[in-house]
């Protein structure tokens, strides 16, 4: 699964996710990516999120919206909200994977509960970085 989240120079957030799903899937199985609030969510009042992993657990936890809700209603930082949901809620449902999350101030988090996650960041000064492991 691939995805991106962005904060533009007008202060607006957006999220997008695209996937082929799971290998060997059957019976018209749909994952979390196209379910708004599960694998993809953006709200200028909180964060933009794109998720990757075992979709069923992301759907059941409404993962992306859960992160946004913790930021919006509990006042959590994007780092705390994304890390708690990804490393506590998702595994408790038997899931694995990771998210990228970005708030309106450009603060971000990219937690995951797998061995690695392909991910990257670029800022307005043009400096970019990519990671696979920590």
């Amino acid at each position: 699964t691939v995805g991106a989240v962005a904060l533009d120079q007008y202060g607006n957030l957006a999220a997008g996710t695209s996937t082929g799903g799971l290998v060997n899937k059957r019976f018209g199985r749909i994952g979390d990516s196209p379910i708004i609030g599960a694998g993809t969510y953006a709200d200028n009042g909180s964060v933009a999120v794109s998720a990757t992993g075992t979709g069923e657990s992301f759907i059941r936890s409404v993962c992306a919206h859960e992160i946004a809700a913790r930021v919006k209603y509990c006042g959590f930082s994007v780092g705390r909200a994304a890390t708690e949901v990804t490393k506590t809620v998702i595994p408790a449902l038997g899931g694995r994977g990771g998210v990228i999350a970005l708030d309106h101030a450009g603060r971000f988090a990219m937690p995951y509960v797998t061995r690695g996650m392909y991910r990257g960041l670029i800022r307005s000064n043009g400096q970019s970085q990519v990671w696979v492991f920590d």
Partner: protein, 180 residues
């Protein structure tokens, strides 16, 4: 110029070690950088966050290294069924497609749903028909299917299990030297 930021991901899993995996990792890093640069250019020119997200995701969709569009993992039947979504944080408008098999860039279809459709989530043939009517590129299934993904499916097909795209190193196209 006001500040902007872009993040991308190319999937998570038990990314394996070993020479082939390391080679794949190097190539993946390059594609991720390319995706970041594409989105960066959009943002630098004053484009919107949505346009930057789509530009970045399209680069990843077009690469056979990642599980989206070209290079998608295969279903039990040996085809692709792809999903995509976008959401605009300013308006809370959203668009998504699910189970599509012929749309070259599903992320573009998701944007078209968001901008030109009263619905939010379109599925299957209806989504493809909508995408075609919006002038999006429709391609044959063969465009999406790589030899590595075929071999990956072959190995897991009889197991009655499913698998994340980056799990189990030897099942990954990288181990079959399908590196794009």
């Amino acid at each position: 110029m006001a500040k902007f930021t872009l993040l991308v991901h190319g999937g998570a899993g038990d990314v394996s070690a070993g020479p082939t995996a390391r080679q794949r990792e190097r190539k993946s890093r390059l594609v991720l950088k390319q995706a970041l640069l594409c989105g960066y250019r959009v943002l630098k020119m004053g484009g919107t966050a949505i346009d930057a997200v789509v530009a970045a995701v399209k680069v990843l969709e077009d690469s056979p290294l990642f599980n989206a569009a070209r290079g998608s993992v295969l279903t039990h039947r040996g085809g692709v069924e792809m999903d995509a979504a976008v959401m605009d944080g300013k308006t809370l408008s959203a668009g998504a497609v699910a189970g599509v098999r012929k749309i070259k860039n599903p992320i573009e279809a998701a944007v078209a749903v968001m901008r030109c459709c009263q619905g939010v989530l379109l599925a299957g043939e209806g989504a493809e028909q909508f995408a075609a009517e919006q002038g999006l590129k429709i391609v044959k299934q063969t465009y999406f299917i790589t030899a590595g993904r075929r071999r990956q499916l072959q190995r897991i097909r009889n197991s009655h299990t499913m698998q994340l795209d980056h799990d189990s190193g030897t099942d990954h196209p990288a181990e079959d030297t399908e590196l794009g």
